[in-house]
């Protein structure tokens, strides 16, 4: 049935969904039926050592119902989402056979023991217990094929064959059983029926293998565990997390399996029999819970990748709280049991000892918690790099003057190694925004910017701003795993690293600003060329064509040419020449090279429609780049004032102070100009910084605009 469904899943387009829904319905139905029958038979539940009747019924119904439900739902979703993954070919039949196994046990018990004769085929249902064999085969194959449906390497293929062979031999051997059958997978439910006698000879064929099968199963278990650990240690990325989930569930299962054997002669000398029995009983229950709920849950999470990344937190919490539970229980056991027996007390509880146990546990709780947390961190992240190592590694990188795009990611990596942070990010301020320039673990789509430090702190990260010469250059941010706080040593490392980072940050920013300015210069050049082409086309060229037309017309009119047409042609040629002259002056004013900044600016001011006063030293000459830059700054500021400001007067002042040329162009217009928006001023800022100068603009709305520049001219 299940195989047919899986086949359907791989062939039809909606197959996976149909198969998934069918598996879920079947599994849920069997789970519900099991719970119903278990409730009907609540007066004669399976025998569980040490549990009261009511508890047994409750535990059994919850564990069986929930277990079947979890397995079938997980199997259904995996078949639906990943029909081609061999894991779904294994998990679907396993889950359904398990459900049939559990249900048939209850069915047989009800029909043969509780209400004999009330159910048809009850006798046939009892031997269904043999399905335990195929289910175990399914479990073993799951462990081998998990998580992608492929073996770690073909070398392990023998395991794929050996597991089914051994479990099949085990199953067939069980046919040779003349005793009444136990139909519970949970405890003991004996029905007054045996295996059909006709099957006994078949079982007898293999009964000689009985003792060997037990050992073979242990050996296979060890081989499977080895395989799983090897696969985990050699995996990486998501596959590693998937295996971690699976191994986690298996490891918990192994621990409770061991605890289940606690009631052994070996331990009887150390702890009293009652305690051992209790441990054993609860571990047995825990084992069922692991197989019924934890294992399918972990498989589901791993294969479907839902909350895949939480495994580290889960492991960390398990170590922490599991360890704390053992610690508290152990303290209690030692104090109350151990000291109690020393004092010769028998039975009953000494209230003083109980209080003592609580006190000891309370005092030791915090140090033990810290130790356990450290242990958990080592289990998850491995040993940390020492803070000294982090700093010296980083300093070596700076010393070798490595490029920022190597150093910054290394800084993030080092900081994470040194603090066991979940995430470390490096943000550098470029312009007025913070850019995320590196992170550990590396993130795709790295480009991200925020407006300021406040925005970062809202993410719950520890933030350490980096300053250089009193200026904020960026931040290091550090996010600890959920629920953990940054400790003093980590804070110190963060601070120390931040104090060294200034140099790297400022270098990165310089490079970045240079890159941006270069891009702007190229864009500005393109724009200028387009404008020049447009000016030529609409201006001089048009004029000359008109002149040609007039000349052609005058030829056509008569051989002597007509005077008005010749006059038109002359006017157009003159106008064209004037346009060319204007254009040429805009490109590079000849006067600037010949007579210097003052004269060139006077001519420029004369062409403006706004009253302009100019104060500058008339005969002073400066190096050519300084003169050209100064000229363009003034020219652009004047052009902006004339075009946008609505000013009635402009004041231009140029003076030389201490080897620097100071320019100030002030108008009384509407203000509100902005360096970043549109105007050619940003290009001039690049130009000024290219020769080591600065340019600023002050333009409050309604209060005029002042452009100031300082250029080194000494």
């Amino acid at each position: 049935m299940a195989a047919a469904l899986t086949w359907l899943a791989s062939t039809r387009r909606h197959g996976p969904a149909i198969a998934g829904v069918s598996i879920a319905l079947l599994g849920t139905g069997l789970a519900a039926a099991t719970v119903v029958v278990a409730w009907l038979d609540r007066d004669s539940p399976p025998w569980l050592p040490g549990l009261s009747l009511g508890w047994t019924v409750a535990v059994q119904m919850v564990v069986e119902g929930l277990g079947l439900l979890t397995w079938s739902i997980v199997a259904a979703v995996i078949v639906w989402r990943q029909p081609r993954n061999r894991v779904s070919w294994v998990i679907a039949p396993t889950a359904l056979l398990g459900a049939v196994l559990v249900f048939s046990g209850h069915y047989a018990f009800h029909g043969l023991f509780v209400a004999p004769g009330s159910l048809p085929l009850a006798e046939t249902a009892a031997p269904f217990q043999l399905l335990g064999g195929p289910v175990l085969i399914g479990f073993s194959l799951l462990a081998l094929l998990f998580p992608d449906g492929h073996l770690k390497s073909p070398r392990w293929r023998p395991l794929v064959l050996l597991n089914p062979v051994v479990y099949l031999v085990d199953m067939i051997g069980r046919l040779d059983n003349p005793n009444p059958l136990n139909v519970s997978v949970f405890g003991q439910l004996i029905v007054p029926v045996t295996m059909p006698p006709s099957a006994w000879p078949i079982g007898a064929l293999l009964s000689w293998a009985g003792p060997w099968v037990g050992w073979a199963e242990v050996a296979l278990g060890i081989a499977g565990a080895t395989y799983l650990l090897l696969r985990l240690s050699q995996s990486s990325g998501d596959a590693r997390l998937q295996l971690k989930w699976f191994t986690y569930a298996v490891a918990i299962g192994a621990i409770v399996l061991l605890a289940n054997q606690a009631d052994s002669p070996l331990l009887r000398g150390v702890l009293d029999a009652n305690t051992l029995q209790a441990i054993s009983i609860w571990a047995g229950l825990a084992q069922v819970v692991v197989i019924a709920v934890l294992l399918p849950g972990a498989i589901g999470i791993a294969v479907l990748r839902y909350r895949l990344y939480d495994i580290d937190i889960v492991i960390s919490r398990t170590i922490l709280y599991g360890g704390l539970a053992v610690f508290v229980a152990g303290t209690y056991g030692i104090v109350v049991g151990g000291i109690g027996s020393l004092l010769g007390q028998r039975g009953g509880m000494n209230p003083l000892l109980t209080i003592l146990a609580i006190a000891v546990a309370a005092v030791l709780l915090e140090p033990v918690r810290a130790r356990l947390q450290g242990l958990a961190n080592i289990a998850i992240y491995g040993r940390r790099t020492s803070p000294y190592q982090v700093l010296s590694d980083f300093a070596r990188g700076i010393g070798r003057a490595e490029p920022s795009d190597v150093l910054l990611p290394r800084m993030a990596q080092l900081l994470r190694d040194g603090t066991s942070a979940a995430n470390v990010e490096v943000w550098v301020r470029v312009g007025d925004r913070l850019h995320r320039v590196a992170s550990s673990p590396p993130q795709v789509g790295l480009a991200q910017t925020v407006g300021g430090v406040d925005e970062l702190s809202r993410r719950g990260a520890a933030i350490r701003p980096v300053f250089h010469e009193g200026e904020l250059l960026g931040t290091l941010t550090l996010i600890k795993p959920r629920g953990e706080k940054i400790d003093a040593a980590e804070q110190r490392l963060l601070d120390d690293l931040a104090s060294q980072a200034g140099l790297v940050f400022s270098r990165y920013r310089l490079v970045e600003e240079l890159r941006e300015s270069r891009t702007r210069i190229v864009a500005a050049q393109d724009l200028e060329r387009r404008q020049l082409q447009r000016n030529l086309h609409d201006g001089a060229q048009q004029r000359f064509v008109n002149a040609l037309l007039a000349l052609g017309l005058s030829q056509a009119d008569g051989s002597e040419g007509s005077p008005d047409l010749l006059e038109t042609a002359t006017d157009e040629v003159k106008a064209g020449l004037a346009e060319l002259r204007n254009l040429a002056r805009g490109l590079h004013p000849a006067l600037l090279g010949e007579s210097g900044l003052h004269d060139a600016l006077v001519t420029l001011a004369d062409h403006l429609p706004i009253a302009t006063t100019l104060r500058a030293a008339p005969d002073r000459r400066y190096p050519e780049p300084v003169e050209v830059t100064a000229y363009y700054i003034v020219a652009e500021a004047l052009a902006n004032a004339a075009k946008h400001s609505g000013a009635s007067a402009i004041d231009v002042r140029i003076e030389e102070i201490g080897g620097r040329l100071r320019l100030e162009i002030a108008d009384d217009g509407v203000g509100g100009a902005d360096l970043t928006r549109g105007s050619g001023l940003i290009g001039l800022q690049d130009r000024a910084s290219a020769i080591g100068g600065t340019l600023t603009i002050q333009s409050p709305p309604g209060a005029g605009t002042v452009v100031r520049a300082e250029l080194p001219c000494g």
Binding site: R534, H537, N546, L548, L549, G552, L553, Q555, A556
Partner: protein, 214 residues
Amino acid sequence: MRVAVADDAVLFREGLARLLETSGFDVVGRAGDAGQLLALVETKQPDIAITDIRMPPSHKTEGLEAAVQIRERHRGVAVLLLSQYVETTHALRLLERGAGRIGYLLKDRVSDVGEFTDAVRRVGSGGSAIDPEVVAELVSRRRRRDLVGDLTERERDVLKLMAEGRSNSAIGSLLHLSEKTVEGHVRSIFMKLELEPTDEDHRRVLAVLTYLRA
């Protein structure tokens, strides 16, 4: 011959109209942009529309797009495009679309009234006119130089004039050759360039230009 004139520069447009009228054309309307031109062609159905390539609002290829529409909607209306630049792709794109009745000249050509009006008449009566500058550029930049190199000096002159859209008799009179001699050259050119010979003027221009551009 009935002519519609379109150019956004008033001075040039009026001058051109005046030049055409002086030369015996009937200027049926003037347009300042592509929209006006299309409306004009719709109502007046001129023999030929002369239009600038760049016109408002974007000053890019409005005239060219108008020309494409005119040739598609009104098969009988010829289009002569005027440009201030040598833009070979535009001219060829148009030629490839329609069966003749297309011309592409630089604005400078208006100064030689005789040549210019000849071109207008040629295009208006179903032929082609491609600016010599365009042809020169195509000839100079083409890659299969080896084949053009096989042509004699004379044949190369004939090739250029063919590409401009001239008829055999026009080529003959320009080069002072008899029509028969020109025909011989043409045949020889087509053979050397491995082109399909054709009698139709437009197809001949297209074949030569396509060849030159390859």
